[in-house]
Amino acid sequence: MEALSSKKKVLEQKPLSLSERLYLPAILKGMATTISHLFKRVPTVKYPEQQREFSKNWRGMHSLKRDEQGRERCTACGLCALSCPAEAITMIAAERQKGEENLYREEKYAAVYEINMLRCIFCGLCEEACPKEAIYLDGPIVPADYLRKDFIYGKDKLVEQPFHAEQAN
């Protein structure tokens, strides 16, 4: 029969030769291989101290942005939660009161905004859905923790730090 491709390789079953039956040459060869790895460069990245370079479109921890005057941009429209395939986002909206104009940009804001980092798949759809450019996945790797409840990040961890006082004034 004609071969269909040139990839076929016929294996012969020969009885072992004396040097093969002695095991030792093969073992010595194996030991030479393993010892050669002693002098190879170790590719390990020692994580917390060293970090590998992230690509430009790397998606890490979320941050809720502020505008130029340091006000929270999010208006609690819920589009991010709606778009989230993992249903990781929950929020409770509240109305902006008089005198809070310097805190919240829109008349409605998120009083509670939580992302469950164990559910989140870092797809970035929330970022895409947001009409207010309020959420970006531009943070670092989400760190490990011991308890499940500690993975539900609230506004304390998500909202970016306000600008420095002199910048805001």
């Binding site: 073992i27 790895h37 002693l38 190879k40 460069r41 170790v42 390990t44």
Partner: protein, 351 residues
Amino acid sequence: MELALVIQKFILVIVIFAVSLLVAMYSTWAERKVAAFLQDRVGPNRAGPGGILQPLADGIKMFTKEEIIPLDSNKFLFIAGPSLAILTACIGSAVIPWSTPLTIGSKTIPLQVTDINVGILYIFGVVSLGVYGILIGGWASNNKYSLMGAIRAASQNISYEIAMGLSIIALLMSTGSLSLKVIVEQQSGFWAHGWFTWNAFQQPLGFLIFLVCAFAETNRTPFDLPECETELIGGYHTEYSSMKLGFYLFAEYINMFVSSAVMASLYFGGYNFPFMHHLGLDANWLSILGIVAMLLKTFFFIFLFMWVRWTVPRFRYDQLMDLGWKVLIPLSIVNIVLTGIWITVKDIYFK
């Protein structure tokens, strides 16, 4: 005088005991490091610089783990097993000559706990006792995996002890003594009468057989069938937890240290090192350098144990028995015959 001798021996015993424990401790660290380096990894590096405190962390972990004695086990034997394992592992180092005697003032202090004239027999006795720890522990667990591991350990040790003994007989024929001290003294220096003095070069085949058997006797890969995880969960120590498990694991490393030291003294000249007689040093310095040489050789063998462990996969059980009975024993008998012929020829023609 008597008291002085007792104190002197006592100190020596304590030092050797401490050193072997220390070496065993750091062998566990070294094993991981070697494994890591041979596999392009970094290995433990969190506990102290370079992971140097890792053995301590492991020890604390072992001590604080829950102690479990299975209900259906034989309680006395269950505890006796690991105790026996570690005890027999520790006493093996008593007859190893660590170096030439030190002279302090008018006293000479031999750096060997005891020079019994049947030192090799003693080592054999201790090594074969060592399997009892495994056997008893495996049997007392009342668990089929443990029992399987114990049976394997017993049959493996018996099979390889024969080959080991026979390979030693050839060595004894050429050295003419059972005392380790004498055997090491005969290998003094490195080069004499146009040939190497170390026994490894006079008994290459014997050394090879002894090396393979040493791997089998210490249950190291590729002969680690008594505890192979893939088939027997943990083999004889499946049911063990806490420090009793620690003892078993520790005993393995002490065994490795002792058998490396035995191999170094039987076949690689013990404390002797090349050009030792040409340096013009006085006896005490030679003695100290001797200790260093001895330890270096021992560490090399420990490294060899690890190197092989991370290279060669485990044997199948029938292959193991094949190798022991059909290859090593006939080979060592051939080695005895060859040695006999060589000694006769040397006596007649090279006198």
